[in-house]
């Protein structure tokens, strides 16, 4: 029995060590490498907690005074290219070249909606990550009527509920949409406890990242290259035109008149974001669209009117706003809205011109 007690004591000590030390033992790159790991977060959105923790760790370790955070969807994330062709990579490279001390963090994630962006801003505050300098990417599709999809908070609805229940309650009906609510009382209760564990117990918080990192290292040793998404320019992808004819894509370029009040949840969340970012450096940019590929859609008068409505909305808002539409060479698109690595590099230059005017070093 005495031996058993000793083993248990050691076991508890190791467990405590793991709980307190894992965040410092894990290579930051495993969790955050110029942007978050989409694969780890998409399967379990609570995994985003580890990203906040690691970004905060970098800020503290590097004693960063100034830094910029990019928030947005797949355009902000810089899909479909690798991390080495993303906004944060280019902007950090530029900052380094010019001997600037600030860093750029990218917390964008494909499919993020403005509701997710709002939630990330609240979470950043919770983790002590400053939102003094923020770049937000939005897309035309975000203003289109939701029917009921896509949900206005795509990934982080549980986090929003926890951190700002009032806002969550306001949008809950739309979030649940056609989705089936878990009716089983037992599963519901266990589900909540499980989420809590994944948010707070270190080994669970980092489990998916360690798994992915180990696989990546193993594959490197084996000389097996990871499958990358297709980063070719759009005109080399013959399937795109037919793909975009599908209703789910056509919805994204709808010419139906935008409703520009808070009944449109895009506006509801943008208003909240702008209020949250009061007196802070905030740049909102509207992603460009591939005019060549989407000619039939973008040439519609309704589409152009909607574009004007978006511009008008931002006209009096206390944020900087850039509408990149028609400002990006169509050769730089990899599809209808995403860019090639070269495209993201050029866009980074344009973002740099704005952020360099901010009071950051």
């Amino acid at each position: 029995m005495a031996q058993f007690k000793k083993v248990m004591i050691y076991f508890v000590i190791y467990a405590l060590f793991l709980q307190l030390g894992l965040a410092y033992m894990i290579p930051t790159k495993a969790v955050y490498n110029e942007r978050l790991s989409y694969d780890a977060v998409k399967d379990r959105p609570t995994n985003i907690e580890a990203v906040f923790e690691q970004v905060k760790k970098i800020i503290d370790e590097e004693k960063l005074k100034d830094y910029v955070v990019i928030l947005g969807d797949s355009v902000g994330y810089s899909n479909p290219g690798p991390a080495e062709s993303s906004f944060a990579y280019f902007l950090n490279g530029k900052a380094q070249k010019q001997s600037k001390h600030f860093r750029v963090f990218n917390l964008s994630m494909p499919a993020m909606q403005t509701g997710d962006i709002y939630t990330v801003l609240l979470k950043m505050k919770e983790y002590g990550i400053s939102s003094d300098h923020v770049i937000i990417n939005i897309v035309y599709a975000g203003f289109v009527r939701r029917n009921p999809d896509p949900p206005s908070v795509f990934w982080l609805k549980d986090q929003l509920k926890e951190i700002d229940e009032k806002t969550y309650n306001h949008v809950e009906k739309q979030l649940l949409g056609n989705k089936k609510v878990e009716e089983n009382f037992i599963k519901k209760k266990f589900g909540k406890a499980k989420e809590y564990m994944y948010e707070n117990v270190a080994i669970f918080k980092y489990k998916d990242y360690i798994q992915a990192y180990a696989i990546e290292r193993f594959n490197k040793v084996r000389g097996k290259l990871l499958c990358r998404e297709d980063i070719k320019p759009w005109f080399q992808k013959s399937f795109l035109k037919d793909l975009l004819k599908q209703p789910m894509y056509q919805r994204d370029f709808s010419d139906e008149s935008f409703i520009m009040d808070e009944t449109n949840l895009q506006i509801y969340f943008l208003d909240k974001i702008i209020a949250l970012q009061k007196d802070k450096d905030t740049l909102v940019f509207l992603a460009a669209m591939n005019d060549e590929l989407l000619e039939k859609n973008v040439s519609k008068p309704g589409f152009q009117e909607n574009m004007n409505r978006i511009d008008l909305y931002f006209k009096d808002k206390p944020v900087e706003y850039i509408n990149f539409n028609k400002k990006v060479d169509y050769n730089l698109f990899s599809d209808h809205v995403h860019l090639t690595p070269k495209g993201y590099q050029i866009l980074s230059e344009k973002l740099w011109d704005v952020l360099i005017k901010w009071d950051i070093d």
């Binding site: 031996q3 076991f11 089983n184 499980k194 564990m197 489990k207």
Partner: protein, 469 residues
């Protein structure tokens, strides 16, 4: 609720502590834990399970009266109808349509509404055994429904066995208040749970994706691929199913309850009869006691005995799944058993010869592997196609990669033998571990195992194969 999930461990943790903190309320604590465990799969099916259990319980109380035949019949009918309706309606209707060309217009809408309640096959067999045992006066009917409920629904073994009998398990349930938490039980409990989790998470889940890859393209397999796929599945199903049974045994130990070991290194069997004493032991003995012997067993002559064997095994196959592939798997094993009995009658060999023993194990392992093709294939057609390739070796395209593949199978077999060795030397190894390894290193080893298990658990939880039965 799956064993390798957060939900299960929370339930286990809470139940374990409540069980020892409130010794007078133990039966209620276990009854509630069982309700939560099963209720997580669906409250409607929990209700169904409770009703079927209650009817069986009430019928069993009347088996000592002069109307026992009626109540026995009612009990058996309710229990079997429940299983037949939920598990075999689709199978029967589809076959009526296929062979008799009878089409029921309501068939699709009915089948879309019928979902198989988890663990129905297991609790059905346990309920039948209980009723038969009471009727045979081998046990007294349980006089408390809550005791009966805990016996029939113990969350450790409810969904995939081991199938417990009344005479083994009911006295343990009735004497719960006497159970003390001993260090031995605690250690054994965790030993079995960790052993089961390791088998499931490290081996079974890993092999599943590989086996699926091959079985999803049966048409493209050559003879060696077919053998490799079958070996993979043989080990996948072993690790998967024995994992569940071992976790069940471990859970039992934590509550001072002793469940039967269901698997004892089955692939070292040298004959069909030995295999069924090592594979899913509680099911094999159930089939023997409640089907094979009541049919006549060995008492009605050799020919009938073989026939009863084949019938009993076919029923066992059908119990596993409502498909012809499962029935064929059962018949195949029935035939193996019958042929082996004939062989033993005709050919007398010195059994102690170790070469003969190794050869027998090798041959029987490969025969079992062929049988698994029926179990895993999507259709009889696919199974026959694959087995034909395996037996005739008609399509061999050999390359050095098969050395790696079959080396991997040899490694799996080595692990299987290692498990056999560990099991047979449990106490010696335990003593060595405790005597020669410092406590700090032991604790580090336990922590390492825990971390590996957590890290290797898939994001999407994979079910146990036997949960579908």
């Amino acid at each position: 609720m799956l064993f390798h999930t957060f939900e299960f461990f929370v339930l286990l943790f809470v139940t374990f502590f409540s069980f020892y903190i409130f010794p007078k309320k133990r039966i209620y604590i276990l009854a509630l834990a069982n309700i939560i465990f099963y209720g997580a799969s669906g409250t409607r099916y929990l209700l169904l399970f409770l009703i079927v259990s209650l009817i069986t319980y009430l019928c069993s109380l009347k088996l000592e009266t002069c109307y026992w035949k009626i109540f026995y019949l009612i009990g058996i009918l309710v229990v079997i109808s429940n299983l037949l309706f939920f598990k075999y309606t689709g199978f029967v209707l589809n076959n009526l349509e296929k062979f008799m060309r009878i089409h029921f217009p309501w068939q699709d809408s009915l089948l879309s509404k019928i979902l198989l309640p988890v663990g129905i096959s297991f609790y059905t067999f346990q309920l039948i055994a209980y009723l038969v045992d009471v009727k045979r006066k081998e046990i007294k009917p349980c006089d408390s429904f809550i005791n009966f409920w805990v016996f029939i629904s113990f969350f450790g073994q409810l969904i995939a066995g081991p199938i417990m009998r009344g005479k083994e398990f009911l006295p343990q349930i009735e004497n719960l208040q006497d159970n003390k938490l001993t260090l031995r039980n605690f250690k054994y409990g965790f030993y079995y749970i960790i052993m089961g989790l390791t088998k499931k998470i490290i081996f079974a889940d890993f092999l599943a994706s590989k086996a699926d890859f091959y079985f999803n393209q049966v048409g493209n397999l050559n003879s060696l691929d077919a053998w490799f796929a079958s070996y993979l599945f043989a080990f996948q199903i072993y690790f998967d199913f024995s994992a569940y049974s071992e976790i069940a045994v471990g859970v039992g130990y934590l509550f001072g309850l002793y469940l039967n070991i269901n698997f004892k290194s089955p692939y070292i069997s040298a004959s069909p009869s030995e295999f069924w004493k090592r594979w899913h032991i509680t099911l094999s003995s159930w089939i023997k006691d409640y089907i094979y012997i009541p049919l006549g067993g060995a008492k009605k002559g050799t020919l009938l005995q073989y026939m009863f064997l084949i019938i009993a095994m076919a029923i066992s196959g059908l119990w596993h799944g409502a498909a012809w592939t499962f029935i064929m798997w059962g018949i195949y094993h029935g035939l193996l058993s019958a042929f082996h009995k004939i062989y033993r009658k005709w050919i007398k060999l010195e059994r102690k010869n170790s070469f003969y023993k190794i050869l027998s194990i090798f041959i029987f392992f490969n025969l079992t592997t062929i049988g698994w093709v029926f179990f895993r294939a999507k259709s009889i057609h696919e199974a026959v196609f694959m087995i034909k390739k395996m037996i005739t070796l008609c399509d061999i395209s050999f390359s050095h990669v098969y050395f790696v593949y079959f080396g991997f199978i040899a490694l799996l077999y080595g692990i299987h033998i290692l498990e056999y060795f560990i099991r047979n030397n449990e106490i010696t190894l335990k003593l060595f571990w405790e005597k020669h390894v410092p406590t700090g290193i032991r604790a580090a080893a336990y922590m390492a195992i825990l971390i590996i298990l957590i890290l290797l658990t898939k994001t999407e939880e994979s079910s146990f194969i036997y949960f579908q039965f």
